[in-house]
Every structure is written in C-alpha cells, then in structure tokens.
Amino acid sequence: MARVSFHHVYKQYRSEKKTSVTDFHLEIEDGEFVVLVGPSGCGKTTTLRMLSGLEDITEGEIYIGDRYINYVSPKDRDIAMVFQNYALYPNLSVYENMALGLKLRKTAKHEIELRVKKAAKILEISALLDKKPNQLSGGQKQRVALGRAIVREPEVFLMDEPLSNLDAKLRTQTRSELIRLHQELQTTTVYVTHDQTEAMTMGSRIVVMKDGIIQQAAAPEFIYRQPANLFVASFIGSPAMNLIEGSIEEDGGTHYFSNRRLRLEIPPQYKPFLASGKLRNVVMGIRPEHVLLEPTLEDPNDSYGAVIDVIELMGSDSYLYLSMGDTRVIARAIEPGSKFHVTDKIDIGFRMEMAHFFDAESGGNLGIF
C-alpha cells in the first residue's frame, strides 16, 4: 500500500493542440479510495493511464510511495488495473487468467495456487476456476478481472469504469461489493467513472474533472453541500441542482436575488461577499430537496406559482418538474405522488439558507470564501 502523488501533471497528445490533462495536482493518501469523475473526454481516463504507465507523461511528476515513476514500465510500477471490458484472456481458463501475472513474475507455484484460491474465495468465484471467460456472465467476468488484480497484491488498484458494462441491478450489487473489498484490503484505489452516483457512493474522496482540469477534489458530502462552481453543482447530484439566473439587488440593507419572476431574500451568511458592493449577475443553485411545496411553506407571502409538467415517481418519493414561465425547476416531493397531478398549479418556495450563488461569468461559488 502506498500514497500516490501527482505533481502538476500535463498530457498533450501529438495530434492535438490542446492539452488533454492540465496541471493535475493531487495527493492520494495511503488506503484512500479516490474517484475521478467527469463527462467523457474530460481527461480522467488519460490521467489513470498515465498513472498506469500505458500513456506517457508530457510534463510533471508522478510518485507511488516515494518512487518517481514517470519512466518506470507498467509492470514494474506495482499496480493492477481493472478494465471496463474486463480484458480477460479468452484462451486461458479463469485460474490461468488470475495466475498469469504471478507466473510472469516467477512466483513459486504453490504460492500462486494459494493466492488465486484465496482471491477466488473472497470474490466467490471458486467454482468457476476451470471455466473459460466466454462461459461466464458479465458479473462473473468482472469478478475474475478483479481477482486478477487482487492476486497481485499491488500497491495501488486502478479501475477504469469497471461497472459500466453491467446491468443496473448487478452494478448496484457489485458497487457495494467493491466498497466491502476496499474495506477488507485497504489498498489505495483510483477509480474512474462518468457516473456521479458511483462516485458519491464509493469514493472516500471525489475528484471532479472537466476539460482536463480538476474542478474540485473533496469528500463526497462536501462536494454535494459545497460545490466549487457551476459545473460541479450541475454534475453532482441526481436529479441535478436547479440553476436560476438573476441578479442581486439591495433594498434598505437587505439583499435580494431577483429576476423577472422571483425576488428572494438572501440569508445573512452571504453577507461578506455582498458587502463588497459588487452587485452582479449571478446564478442561484438550489437542490430539488430544498424547493418547498405547498403544505410545508413557512411564509405564504414568499411563495410563487408554478405548473407541474411531469411527475417522476421514484418509489419512496417523487420528483416534480415544474415550470415558472420560462424557468424550469425540479422539486422533490416526499408525500405520495397521488397528491399532485400534472398541469396542476401549485405554490412553491425556496429554503434560501440552502441556496448557492455562482458568478454568472466565471461560474465560481460566491459562498466559498
């Protein structure tokens, strides 16, 4: 087990003008489960591949433990990688698939057998050891791929969207198994995904990336509560945070967020940035669970009319897709969905103490000082 440090890492492909990864700087602690998340093409996989050694590093340094590994070949980095499409050797049995890495490292035969059997037991694939990969289901293949990584007992696990090829139910199940596995082995893990749910549930720390640049790196809960900018706010959370454009106005010492339809009082914790006197265009972000619906409204005067467009029943609660003129708002309703009907007109309000304000131009969160 080891720490992993990225020191201002850049990646530029020869065929492209722009850098694919820009100034990636991150310290990963021993035993951490770090998730790199972002839309496709954001450089997360490239970053992982630089760490694995399958891709050259254009600039910057990467360390595993105290070892400078920029020019160390993949096999000598003491890492193991799990691929999205499993990448099992189709001509070898499950046992041989798991054993190959050890065999190539000249591990003693009885030791190989011991380790493979142990890994198979952890992953509950002991019965499959004699089968060929094409006789296995997707979930079983993924376990074998994990097993191949585990038997090597590497310093770092690298996982490149390992759950993307599984169906929804299996994905949820495997997700929790991966968490359990990490708790058991405590191996430093770098996990790449485009699925924010996976990132939220698995990571001990999430690194949100866009266009090759780290947007925010923090614990899942912190990112959810304090998104650093508009991109993170809209990317993390399902359904996405409501983003409403408007400006800030002052009226007798009180600040208001207003646009053509809304005029909302901004709570006092935002005072420091408001005191600077820059009254500018902002985007208000508010999560669906912080949109108040009719019966729970605290102050009926502070409410606004909205029409229900779509109701999405999720089981325990449902999401209402509302429109206020040309502004669309998603709200979470905890009450049984039958209370609301499509095209109904209802009154809604906002829990302003939970709102975020972002600079409309730079996208930065004005509440993070």
Binding site: P74, K75, L100
Partner: protein
C-alpha cells in the same frame, strides 16, 4: 438423423423448394470432384470415351502403378517430386504464417510513423498479378543464388499481402485493453504475441495456411523458372511433363489422371477439416 428428418417436416413449401434447388446446385457443383476421383481409376480405353462418362465402369489401379513405376526408368522418381512438394509446401506455410502474423500484429497494434506508408505498399502489392513480377522475381532469386534450392521455392511466396491483410483485420478486433492488461501483468511483446495474439487469431491463421498451401501445392512456376536441376522440381511441374503440356494427348493421360487425384486430395482433406474456421475468417474480415 431423426432430428434432421424432424426439421425437414417442419419446412414450408417454399423452403422445401429452396432446399431442393440448393441440393441440385450442390450436386452440380460437386460434379468435378466426382469426375476427378473416377477418372483416376479409369482403364485406358475408358479415358477417351466419347461422350465422356463421370462414373468409372471398370475401375483399375493401372494409372497409379504407371505413375509410380514408370519414372524408375528415368533419373528422377515420382517420389522425389512428391517429397519436394511436401517440403516446399510445409516450409512455405510456416514461413508465411510467421512473417504475416508478425507483420499484421505490428501494423494492427503498434504505433509508428511510417505505418500508413507500409499499409499503402501492402495494398499496392495486392494489385499485381504474379505474372507481372515473374521477371523481377527471377532476377532476385538469381542474384541471391537461390536457384536449385528449396529456399528459391519459398522466398517468393513469403511476403503475402493477402495473408497480412487477412490476419490484420482479425487482430484489429482484439481489444487493445487485452494487450494492456498483459503488459501490466508483466508480459513482454514476444510473450503477448505468442500467448495472446497467436491463439486468438487461430481461425485467420488456419485460413491463410490453406490459401498458402493451395497456392504453393498447385504452382509450377517456381519449378519452371528458378529450378534447372530436375531433382529440385515439384509435383505440379511433373504433371505438366506427363502430357508434355497437353501436346501429347494420349500417352500420359492415365498417369495425369491419377496424379491429378493425388494433387487434389490434400486440398479436399484440409478443407473438410478447416471449413468452419475459413468461414469464420471470411465473415470477420469482410473478404469474400
């Protein structure tokens, strides 16, 4: 057997007609095979019957006897040609498989700057008929002093653009992650090639083995052009001498018929064993 009968019963009228038509077509297409087998066992007078018959009435082994025994009077026996043919075909197959696989792997999976140019040259090579390069080939074989050696038979066929192309198409489908996984497992390029690429491209290799075998086994040009020594010539060449290039239409016909069957048998056997794999490759590579 019962399963087939059951399946036939379930067919619609159209499907039955289609089946019949296809059966007729298959029977018609197999006539040459029937002919070549029967022809080899025909006694002398039956060989020249008019109209010619497909089936032999009075089978005899005289043709084979003559084929094997006649050359004893000559300097080079039949078995020498057969031996040469087998050696040349086997070595050519091994050489073509090795060189094509290695070239295809490099062209398919490795990145280097001249890749496009190399691919273009291979495509270009596909377009030349063998006759057009006969003279340059002759000159090269002459310069390298390969006349009257087995290598003179083999060298001209080693660089096979068709084989490289077929295998490359096949290797293209092997996901890059598989090779990356192997690299991380600690495998060297050679090991990846032997343990992963070769086993996974077996169907393509089977196909090019057959293509190569057929090409070399039936080809008399190397014997005609590069081999002056009679002991280095191969079977197809010998067969053309039996009938003196069709100038002698009577004397060698029986032996030629028997030799024709012997030439044909290996192809038939190989195809029967490997036909599924050939189909696989053809479907995969989009080559028809």
């Amino acid at each position: 057997m019962m399963a087939i009968v059951k399946q036939i019963r379930r067919l619609t009228l159209f499907e039955t007609l289609l089946l019949l038509a296809l059966l007729l077509l298959a029977a018609f297409m197999s006539l040459p095979i029937v002919f070549i087998i029967n022809h080899a066992f025909k006694p002398f007078h039956e060989l020249f019957l008019f109209p010619p018959t497909f089936l032999v009435k009075d089978p005899t082994l005289t043709n084979f006897y003559e084929l094997f025994m006649r050359p004893v009077a000559r300097i080079v026996p039949f078995s020498r040609y057969l031996y040469n043919s087998i050696i040349v075909a086997a070595l050519s197959m091994v050489a073509v498989i090795l060189s094509s696989c290695m070239a295809a792997y490099v062209l398919s999976k490795l990145q280097f700057s001249l890749k496009k140019a190399v691919m273009a040259m291979i495509m270009l090579a596909l377009m030349f008929a063998p006759e057009t390069v006969a003279i340059p080939r002759y000159l090269i074989v002459g310069w390298l002093q390969l006349n009257n050696t087995y290598f003179g038979h083999i060298l001209p066929v080693i660089a096979s653009p068709v084989a490289v192309f077929l295998i490359k198409q096949f290797i293209d489908q092997i996901p890059a992650e598989l090779l990356e996984a192997a690299k991380m497992d600690g495998a060297s390029e050679l090991r990846i090639f032997i343990r992963i690429i070769i086993p996974l491209s077996m169907p393509a290799i089977a196909t090019i083995s057959i293509i190569t075998f057929q090409g070399v086994w039936g080809d008399a040009s190397a014997s005609t052009l590069f081999m002056q020594d009679e002991t280095m010539k191969t079977l197809p060449y010998y067969i053309t001498t039996l009938t003196s290039g069709m100038a002698n239409t009577v004397a060698g016909q029986g032996m030629a018929a028997a030799a024709g069957l012997l030439m044909f048998l290996p192809n038939l056997i190989i195809f029967l064993f490997a036909q599924r794999r050939i189909m696989e490759t053809m479907v995969h590579s989009g080559v028809k």
